[in-house]
Amino acid sequence: MSAVATPGALDDRALEELAQVLGAEHLITSKPARMHRARVPAPFPVHRWADHLPDAVVLPGSTEEVAEVVRIANRFRIPVVPRAGGTGLTDGAVPLRHGILLDLKRLDQIHEIDLENRTCTVGAGVNMLKLNEILGKHGLIYPDDPASYPCSLVGGRIGTSGWSLIGSRYGHTRDLVLSFVHVLPTGDIVRFGDGGGAKISKSSTGYTLKPLFMGHQGTLGVATEATLKLYPKPEAELSPFWAFEDYDSAHRTLRELVRADCATFAGAVIFDEHKVAYLRRDDEAYIPQPENVRALICAVLYGNEDEVRPGGRRLMRIARENGAHYLGDEISQGDWAARHDRYATPLHGRTKAGQVVPMSWHCEDAAINWTELPAVRREWHAIVARLRNRSDVFDDWGMFAYTSTRTGVDYLTEIDVGIWEQELDDETWAMWVQAKRDIAAVAVAHDGSISACHGACREGEVDLVPEELGGAYDVMKTIKRTLDPLNVMNPGKYGLDGSFEEDHK
């Protein structure tokens, strides 16, 4: 038997043990079920899907069953990849070494709603939209709001340390999850939070371990149950969209809007001219806009109505003083409502000749300081323009940047690239992977971070992670080897196989 987890280790004996733990109906080996869980929305060459096929899918119904699956995997040296909604864009839930796909969707119970302390405790397979439908009856909301809001799950949000559209008001997943039950790579079950209590938001007892077990993309185990911080459901929402004649004016205005420091400010996003041009292709809100509309800003406020209104007045005044033109209620309200659900958007790109082609959506999502946004924007578009010049497989869908926090120090900075997935062959895939390296290198060169939202373990970008993190990457490897000595959990991700080279020999 190998010293560490390896592909092909799932034999009949292991399958028998898994079936005993889970029941035969929750152990699936059929090809469609495995194919279905072999990928995520990010584009990948169709002819290589088999590279990422798990050997079996398991659907545990409790933390104890998850732990038992991980223990069996350790005994037989089988790779395990946890998967929640499968909506991630950095392949966190994609098996690189086959093995067991641990599907968390049966952990979909709401265990408790604590109306006094305003918390709830849920399984990792609970979706935020469905949870909020129930919390709304109590006048509460769990405001973790990714672009995959209707389809991503709490467990995946923990595994990626997700980013929220309205995080500037309510915080991101790491701020909203108070604690969680976690199965370590050895199969041991522990709770990570602030201190020992499940509902504590700030503690100084012991090491602050909770953040370490968020955003690891399944390489350090799997969260099975989480206790979440709840807020009152907002009385009011305001989402003005403003138009600008150039990006630089919008960029300056963005700074002024953020500096207004309105208490109900939940976020602001800037769209560049490439994004506006993309929207003009088929978006009813932007097709009729005059040609001098070349950049946009949307600001969002949530809270009590008697606080949202004065905050909104202040932002309207600031925007007007900076030369912005309000796009009107219909566009502002409609476009913002659509931002909660970007995965439902039908995607099609254009060849250089202008013909419509079906494309998948890839977005790079660096964390960039406000001062660096214009330079990063220029360099990223140049990289994608070179790609597009070489092949119609690629299309530049423009950029936007969202506030990550209320002070406006850094922005989730995204370039959206359409990729004609059916035409993606080895040559164009190699071009894309190199472009991802180049895009990541720009983010690092501007003292940013490769990813604010998705994670950075996809082919291409992952090569730059040691450069970005420096000595911290070596600490990552040491932690991985210590906590997962058999490299069972999601092997191959983040280049952490390098920690186990001697074992593989």
Partner: protein, 82 residues
């Protein structure tokens, strides 16, 4: 009231050119110009009622999303006047 004629539903209103790349057949419902959908992706033919149903459903969805997140949607146009 005009009676429903299934055959009429298959004849869309004449297009109005809205930009170099988009047309409009029904008010506020834009379509990619069919001349851009001749090689790799072809436009599908919908009965008129279905086109309007899809657009209306989208608006219903957006309205639902507003109610999901907050009780009241504040009008920016009202604040502009202040």
């Amino acid at each position: 009231m005009k009676p429903f004629r299934a055959g009429e539903q298959r004849i869309p209103p004449p297009p109005q050119q809205m930009s170099d790349v988009a047309i409009m057949r029904f008010e506020h419902i834009f379509e990619v110009d069919p001349k851009l959908m001749t090689e790799h992706v072809h436009q599908q033919h919908f009965p008129n009622w279905d086109t309007q149903r899809i657009a209306a459903s989208r608006l219903d969805h957006l309205e639902w999303m507003h109610r999901h997140w907050a009780t009241v949607v504040v009008s920016g146009e009202e604040l502009l006047d202040d």
